[in-house]
């Protein structure tokens, strides 16, 4: 899987962004960043010629019950190099800058994350549900998800919250 981002460079990034952190113990540490500085960090990673992370290989979110975590796996084709960027988001109001501003190809993946995990992407060009029905009012990949009940009302399929789980 190529080589991982050097620790010296991580140190450099940490100096540049005050919210950046990483666990120096790990072999391949993910870099944690505050969500305000995410866009700036990504811009640096993408546009600095010595990094040149031109591929957003994977984009997803994990629900850790207290908080959400966005996970970005970036890959640089020129240097065959990896980096994982993670952002912690508030569980009550998960909001993060959209990566479509830097990598246009993350459009569908962010829509999917919005649909299934309920993360709101700011500045996304077309943030709609992609896999679930448009009138579905829950986010299935969250840990506290309870399936909605389908009902047909006046020829239209609607979704209702279940009364109780018992």
């Amino acid at each position: 899987m190529g080589k991982y981002f050097d620790k010296e460079k991580l140190e450099l990034l940490k100096a540049q962004f005050d919210t950046a952190e990483y666990d120096a113990e790990q072999a391949e540490p993910a870099i944690y960043i505050g969500k305000e500085q995410l866009l700036g960090l990504m811009r640096v990673l993408r546009e600095t010629p010595t990094y040149a992370f031109d591929r957003m290989s994977n984009l997803t979110a994990v629900d850790y019950k207290e908080y959400f975590e966005m996970v970005y796996s970036l890959y640089s084709r020129r240097f065959d190099m990896w980096i994982t960027v993670k952002v912690k988001l508030d569980h009550d109001k998960p909001e993060v800058e959209s990566m479509t501003q830097i990598w246009e190809g993350t459009n569908f993946e962010e829509r999917e994350t919005y649909d299934l995990m309920g993360i709101n992407f700011i500045h996304h060009p077309d943030l709609r549900r992609i896999l679930m029905p448009d009138n579905y009012d829950a986010h299935p990949l969250r840990k506290d998800f309870v399936p909605l009940e389908p009902k047909i009302e006046g020829g239209v399929l609607t979704w209702h919250k279940q009364k109780s789980m018992s």
């Binding site: 899987m1 994977n58 994990v62 996970v71 796996s73 993350t106 992609i130 896999l131 679930m132 990949l141």
Partner: protein, 365 residues
Amino acid sequence: MAQTEKYVLNMGPQHPSTHGVLQVQVELDGENIVGAKPIMGYLHRGIEKLMESRTYTQCVPYTDRLDYVSAMNNNLGFCMAVEKLASIEVPRRAEYIRVICAELNRIASHHVFIGSLTNDLGSATGMIYAFRDREKILDLFNIICGARMTAHYIRIGGVAADAQEEFLKGAQEFVNYVPAMLDEYDRIFTGNEIFQARMKGTSIITRETALKYSMSGPNIRASGVDYDIRKIDKYGAYGDFDFEIPLGEQGDNWDRYIVRLKEVQQSANIIQQALDNMPDGPVMAKVPKVLKPPKGDAYHRVENTRGELGFYIVSDGSTKPYRVHIRRPSFVNLQALDSMCQGMLLADAVTAFATIDPLMGEVDC
């Protein structure tokens, strides 16, 4: 005064040529396409959610159902991600058998591509020829694992059972048959002038667009980007084999077809090398019956038939994965559909659906 008006044509999810249950809202001006908007989700089964309530071993059959025409590649991707998470070393022989199965499945999947492409171009005969040859591979899978499509053969730590002599002989026979097969395709499709007229110069994806949309697999290689994870990452046993990455020039439908045709040749080449140098030994590593990977996360990607298939797995130290995310290549590739269709005719849209080769089981997950 005469007046023209754009209109929206709804292709799919029930349409003879949208693959699976893809719905595309095509905006048309006469027969010229102004825009194409893919709408998916009709086959959404929530596999990512399902996996959270299954043990690691039980998750593997679900990966079969992602990209069901190249199930072996999906098995491989998931198993390798779990092996990375749990630091399991796979025996050499198992790696070789995995490569043979994955490459056979790649050829089978390209057969489906050729078949559905020719069928969409209006020649049902082509479809039958491609499926006839695919049948040979499916029969081989039936020998080695007892299922034709949903293989569930590659397991965490190795493969389910050792490859029999019968399978290896059959694989050799198939590799010997490949040149004759490609020659027949050349005569009936590739050389055909109507076929060329339909494909050349249509639905171009430029190098820049392909990179912009993070495309992968044969689609990006047809646009001239040398990006094959088998070559870059050399995962599994792929480092041992010598093979080329076929590249296209301008990224039109024709290039996407030719690249896949050449890939069949290269896959046969890899299988031949694997068969010649097949090591002996066990096919299954020592994996505990109750697999509990340590706390942490891992992302692993493999070259699926359709591109970069990645599995991101978060483990909380229990027997079940805390979160599985699947980066599906055809889902990401579909973003390019709009720019492919713009300015083309309705008939080209059908060709574009076919050459971008989405598989709805994978797109909708």
